[in-house]
């Protein structure tokens, strides 16, 4: 990929993994920031559409974290949403997007997590509750949504485009909010990134395709980079709510990576925003 080569050296892998974790914002869900919890050490249950979910401890603690997980375990969990005990994660953990991470990036991510100080979290054991109907719906949605595995670069496109496409498809997980879903919760890829009338928190999610009227067709490459840098829009409004949280992650990217995302977004098909599903 563009920004980092597959160079040798364990320290490089940890650094690359740290960058990816920052880009994906793993610490945002997997840390109990409100109560001064250590980063990546998990958080107590919070409400999701699938019930009260506690986020796992990602530090290498052997009994309450992911210490002792093999790379194969980690890959299966992050790419396919299946834990080592064969239980399934609900897609509040956006594994359908992390599904697209390359083997190398998954290995780097694990190297980074393995480098953290183990934190014991006895309090997280058995936390959370099931919301059976929501989980059944989630299972159906995932079954109906093909997960393609590691992203393959498009040889017909240049490296910058490919890097942007990869970031959007994987750690950016832009489609998680910006692609509308049908009643089962399956993303409608015919309307890729065309926005949704009811996204997280029930609020409208903007159309980020090239539609001039309802999307970002009038935005320049610099305008897109601007919002990814610090959340400011072309008229110097600022994004708020869930997107402001995402900007925390995109702000951590290199300038080249933000530019790659902008280049890619300006190439995707223009679709109008649909007010009703």
């Amino acid at each position: 990929m563009l920004a980092f080569s597959r160079g040798a050296g364990a320290a490089d892998a940890v650094a690359r993994g740290a960058y990816l974790a920052g880009a994906a914002g793993c610490d945002q869900c997997h840390s109990d920031s409100e109560h001064g919890g250590k980063p990546y050490a998990g958080a107590p249950p919070f409400p999701t559409p699938y019930g009260q979910i506690a986020t796992p401890n990602l530090t290498p603690d052997r009994s309450t974290g992911i210490g002792g997980w093999s790379l194969a375990d980690f890959t299966r969990a992050v790419r396919w949403g299946v834990a080592p005990d064969d239980s399934h994660y609900v897609p509040s953990f956006p594994y359908p997007f992390y599904n697209r991470l390359t083997d190398g990036d998954l290995a780097d991510l694990k190297a980074f997590l393995d480098s953290l100080q183990p934190v014991s979290r006895r309090d997280l054991e058995g936390a959370g509750s099931t919301a059976l109907v929501a989980r059944a719906r989630a299972a159906l949605a995932v079954a109906l949504m093909p997960l393609r595995g590691a992203w393959q670069p498009n040889p017909a496109k240049d490296p910058v485009w490919n890097r942007g496409a990869y970031l959007v498809a994987s750690v950016g997980r832009c489609g998680d909010c910006h692609t509308p879903r049908n009643w089962l919760g399956v993303p409608d890829n015919e309307r890729f990134l065309a926005g949704s009338p009811a996204g997280p928190e029930g609020k409208k999610v903007p159309n980020i395709t090239q539609d001039a009227k309802t999307g970002i067709g009038n935005w320049s490459e610099e305008d897109i980079i601007g919002v990814l840098t610090d959340g400011h829009t072309p008229d110097f409004d600022f994004v708020a709510g869930p997107m402001a949280e995402i900007v925390k992650n995109t702000a951590r990217l290199t300038e080249e990576d933000r530019r790659a995302i902008a280049v890619y977004l300006r190439s995707i098909p223009s679709k109008p925003f649909a007010a009703k599903q």
Partner: protein, 158 residues
């Protein structure tokens, strides 16, 4: 003793008077909403001047002027949110939430936070250091403007 004609005339005068009062109030509200949008756009323009300097598009003098004006605009915010002036802005895209007035203390507190960050932005601009300015700009955007909008502004669904 009022004749029926005079009674009618008096009634008409009162009605016209009342209608005039209502008409004035409506015009006032419309003007306030216009002024509100103009103030926000002025803030946007000021922020643009600061960002322009970071992007090497304008000079430090313009950025300084923008950051200075921004501080002034923060003080004017309560003036463009008098009670009874809810409703969509002229663009038709946003409206203040009722919480602006039901949580007026909280609204002012949020304004104070934004004002403090605007002060910090001017300090950073005066230093001329682009990294410092970007940090202050991002902080103002997220925790000043963005935080207030998140709590007190709603997007009108179409």
């Amino acid at each position: 003793m009022l004749t029926s004609f005079r009674l009618l005339a008096l009634g008409a005068a009162l009605a016209i008077g009342a209608a005039n009062s209502i008409a004035v109030l409506a015009a006032d509200k419309e003007q306030v909403i216009k002024d509100r949008e103009a103030l926000m756009k002025r803030q946007g323009s000021d922020l643009g001047a600061v960002r322009g300097y970071i992007e090497d598009k304008t000079d430090l003098a313009k950025a300084t002027a923008g950051a200075t004006d921004l501080i002034e605009t923060m003080q004017k915010i309560p003036d463009v949110f008098p009670p009874g002036t809810g409703g969509p802005n002229p663009d038709g895209k946003y409206a203040p939430k009722p919480e602006v007035w039901s949580d007026w203390k909280d609204f002012l507190a949020q304004r104070d936070i934004a004002a403090a960050k605007a002060d910090a932005l001017l300090v950073a601009v005066k230093s001329g250091d682009k990294a410092n300015i970007q940090t202050a700009f991002a902080d103002l955007g997220k925790n000043g403007c963005g935080a207030c909008h998140g709590k007190f502004r709603e997007e009108i669904k179409k």
